[in-house]
Amino acid sequence: MELKVKQVKRVDGVKEAFYIPATFGGLRLTVKHFFRNLLGSKDVVTINYPEEKRPISMRWRGRHRLTRKNDGFLKCVACYMCETVCPSKCIHIEAGEHPDLSIEKYPFRFDIDELRCVFCGLCVEACPKEAIRMDTGVVAMAYSSRKTFDFTRDLLRDEYDPKQHESPKYADEDLPRPDSSETALPNSQGIPAA
């Protein structure tokens, strides 16, 4: 295939050799911007991040959350679909038997190592119950220890929109919970978190 090459013609005349006209041409532009911004920041496109946030798309994939049914139970049925499809093997589920016999299983543990996660969104697509979503809009996760990135079920569930649910009350509050000391998963290297 013939490549189309655009040839830029260099002007090499007396005007260019003296630099001065070109300098003034450049100065005109920068001085214009300087004074426009000096008198009221008109052109500045910077978003002052922690105070202002850039609007993110509806399809933007952020930190996971586990959705709940109307009665407050997790929608998750511990089917292991997301754990199976996850390319980075960052989801770890342990199914538990639900006291309510109409519900087959519920996730006794549902841990996501957000450091391993590649935010591909396959878990969301794989889920048959729309139990896991990545619509929290958490853009940046920055913590000082690796352990903090191991999100347990309760942490994932607690990521709800506070505007819609005023006081979170979980119907499965009485259910047996994993011991808090066990919540941390062994991480990817198999080293137990401190």
């Binding site: 050799a17 630099y19 001065i20 300098t23 450049g26 100065l27 532009l29 920068t30 001085v31 911007h33 300087f34 911004n37 000096l38 920041s41 052109d43 500045v44 496109v45 910077t46 002052n48």
Partner: protein, 357 residues
């Protein structure tokens, strides 16, 4: 009271007072503020916000506190010395730039004399020749920093700096020859007073920029190259040799280089003001004959400061406007364009002076 006046009339005491005033109240604050203003103004040029985070409580002062934050930070930074560096030369290298920057202000008058008292630290006969001598000194800073660091990048920066600075010193000297001819002196006070004359009655002041337009452009270019700032920043060459000759420096010694660069910027601005923009002389002020002396002095200081700040701004604006010259282009521009031009300027000025005056 009489004792105080007597002490104040000792020339040495006066000199010390002037030094304190000009350096500690004019040059140093200007250089320090310029370090912040460079970042703030460049942000404005590039449609950014610039530094605005350093704060005390809710007060940020539009980034003004970054001055204090930067200073404190570099004070408590580790002062590293690379292995194999020549300790003594590494130690004294920052001194040269600082001395050169500070000593330039010695011969700059910032206001007209009141009686015997001059607003100038010293008015020596060689005048500007002293400037050439002292700016040559800053070459040593760059070269010593480059060679003593035991680092390849620093060495490259140091050699480039030496070649560039000695080259542009030539054009700086040649560009000023026109000024010497027009005002018939190298003494700064006489050059400044010569710019208080007028053409066509009282229409146009005989400023250096009008008598020597080409000389002004050459001199300003050469001085920017002397300070090693963009577009002539091949010795520092951020994108290739990281920081050039002061690459290995850290902490307060790095700050010394940084501060002396900005004091040099201020020095370039005051030299341009003094030699080409009438110095402290306010144009057409002599028409107001009944002006009180204190007001005249105040106006002179204000005019001098405004023009100085304008040229500081101009240098920063130029830095953020012009693309950088490659090192061979820097040298070619100097030796093949500025040198013939400044020689021609010298000859032309001589012809005009001899033929028409």
């Amino acid at each position: 009271m009489e004792i105080i006046i007597e002490i104040l009339s000792i020339p040495l005491v006066q000199s010390i007072l002037k030094i304190v005033f000009i350096i500690l109240l004019f040059a140093m604050p200007l250089g320090t503020v310029l370090t912040l203003m460079e970042r703030k103004w460049s942000a404005m040029i590039q449609d950014r916000v610039g530094p605005n985070r350093a704060n005390i409580g809710n007060y940020t002062g539009h980034g003004l506190l970054h001055l204090a934050a930067d200073g404190l930070k570099s004070i408590f930074k580790e002062d590293t010395i690379p292995k194999g560096a020549n300790g003594f030369l590494y130690l004294i290298a920052p001194f040269f730039g600082m001395i050169a920057g500070v000593a330039t202000f010695a011969i700059i008058p910032i206001a007209g004399p009141i009686g015997d008292f001059t607003f100038q630290v010293t008015d020596i006969e060689p005048g500007l020749l002293f400037i050439f001598a002292i700016t040559s000194l800053s070459v040593y800073g760059a070269v010593l920093a480059g060679t003593s660091s035991n680092s390849k990048f620093a060495l490259l920066g140091g050699t480039r700096a030496s070649a560039q600075m000695i080259s542009y010193e030539v054009f700086m000297g040649l560009a000023l020859m026109g000024i010497f001819m027009v005002y018939g002196s190298t003494r700064v006070s006489e050059i400044v007073d010569g710019q208080n004359e007028y053409w066509f009655g009282n229409l146009i002041p005989m400023w250096g920029v009008f008598t020597q337009p080409l000389g002004f452009i050459l001199f300003f270019t050469a001085l920017i190259a002397e300070t090693k700032r963009a577009p002539f920043d091949a010795p520092e060459g951020e994108s290739e040799i990281v920081a050039g000759y002061f690459l290995e420096y850290s902490g307060m010694r790095w700050s010394a280089f940084m501060l002396s660069e900005y004091i040099a910027v201020a020095a370039v601005a005051v030299l341009t003001t003094t030699l080409f923009f009438g110095g402290y002389h306010v144009p057409w002020l002599h028409l107001w004959e009944s002006a009180p002396q204190w007001l005249v002095t105040l106006l002179q200081v204000m005019k001098f400061s405004i023009v100085t700040i304008f040229f500081c701004w101009m240098q920063i604006q130029l830095r953020w406007t012009l693309p950088k010259f490659r090192f061979d282009q820097t040298m070619a521009l100097g030796w093949k364009k500025l040198l013939p031009l400044s020689l021609a300027n010298t000859a032309l000025t001589a012809v005009v002076i001899l033929a028409f005056m």
